[in-house]
């Protein structure tokens, strides 16, 4: 299958930067610039730029009764705060309060993954998350962070939770727990990647087959649903892993 035509990469090519699928695949000839401006990186920079601009505009005036962009941001951040608070221990009954340690990361995940997924529906753009490197990066943040949280709140007793509730079962539980934790890395990254690459491949093939009859439109509707659901799943599973790393014993 041929590579799609990406507008931002074409614009960068006019400025002389080797950006695009062709340059990325022959990156050893075109140097480091072809990898820094690879197609998924260019769109990732674009999403980050859009989010930063929206945030700077939204934080400019702080009126008591919000309207406009400030209203949108207040609603979004409050909804994400309530969602985080429901799914993570927040300091009641003597449990540790994880919300200030986890909330900014979850806001970043939600907004970044949602914008990246939806960007793939715009003709001429591709989702950065339709690339395994990006999703693996996001997954590794979650994995490293939840081990860090487990070690911080439980010290070295954290490794004892891998052995299971009954000490006689430890030789059985330890490999199972290790494989399940390794499986989390693969599952979290491949789930997001697989959903988005299948959407992009399907849109590409339908356009090739029956583009003038607007055949990709139902898949785009499905793509809207899948983008939102996959964001929710990634964030919910990250929160579940954070909560699971901090709980004491089984």
């Amino acid at each position: 299958m041929e590579h799609p035509i990406l507008f931002l990469c074409l614009i960068l090519q006019k400025f002389g930067i080797p950006s695009g699928h062709f340059y990325y695949e022959h990156a050893d000839k075109y140097g480091i610039l072809a990898q820094v401006f690879a197609p998924h990186m260019v769109y990732s920079y674009f999403v980050c730029l859009v989010l930063i601009i929206l945030a700077v505009i939204g934080a400019r005036k702080k009126e008591f009764i919000p309207k406009g962009i400030q209203n949108f941001w207040e609603y979004t951040l409050e909804e994400i705060y309530n969602f985080t608070k429901e799914n993570v221990p927040h300091g009641e009954h003597g449990r540790p309060n994880l919300v200030p340690l986890v909330y900014p990361l979850i806001v970043m995940f939600t907004l970044y993954i949602l914008f990246c997924n939806l960007l793939g529906l715009v003709p001429g753009c591709t989702s950065p998350t339709a690339n395994l490197n990006v999703t693996l990066g996001l997954t590794l943040i979650t994995i490293v962070y939840y081990h860090f949280l487990g070690l911080r709140f439980q010290g070295l007793r954290y490794f004892k939770t891998f052995l299971g509730p009954i000490p006689w079962l430890a030789p059985l539980m330890l490999p199972a727990e290790i494989f399940s934790h390794i499986g989390r890395i693969i599952s979290l990254s491949v789930r997001l990647f697989g959903n988005l690459i299948s959407k992009e491949l399907l849109l590409g093939i339908l356009t090739m087959l029956a583009g003038k009859f607007f055949a990709p439109l139902p898949i785009m509707l499905l793509g809207l649903l899948v983008s939102a659901i996959q964001t929710l799943i990634f964030v919910l599973l990250s929160l579940a892993y954070f909560a699971g790393a901090v709980e004491e014993g089984h």
Partner: protein, 120 residues
């Protein structure tokens, strides 16, 4: 008597075919039912079988959610969210099969070695 005749004829035919097949080995691996046909068959069957179990599982999930909502309509929002969560987790198993199929088709690690072996 008839069965032994049929069996002996069949064995002779298979032996003759394998004797002839040994000579144009590389061409038969490419154009016959060889390596590339095996890749395509594996990808198609893999995704199809993966979708089979996924469909059954999602049917059970939706059945549970519908029964729960029918029994207690005021919990419809929470039940729907739980169903969507379960469906996305089940669906990810089919996505694993799809990713393996895509790896086989587009980023096959064995293909360069086979091509070098066949001398293409």
């Amino acid at each position: 008597m008839k069965k032994s005749v049929v069996l002996s004829v069949f064995t002779l035919l298979v032996a003759a075919a394998s004797a002839f097949a040994a000579e144009p080995g590389a061409a038969k691996m490419v154009t016959g039912f060889g390596f590339f046909a095996a890749i395509v068959l594996a990808s198609g069957l893999g995704v199809g079988l993966g979708a089979l179990g996924c469909g059954i599982g999602m049917g059970h999930a939706t059945r549970g959610a519908c029964e729960g909502i029918a029994r207690n309509p005021e919990l419809a929002g929470k039940l729907t969210v739980t169903m969507i969560l379960g469906i996305a987790l089940i669906e990810s198993l089919t996505i694993y099969a799809l990713v393996v199929a895509l790896i086989l088709l587009y980023a096959n690690p064995v293909l360069p070695k086979v091509i070098k072996l066949l001398g293409l």
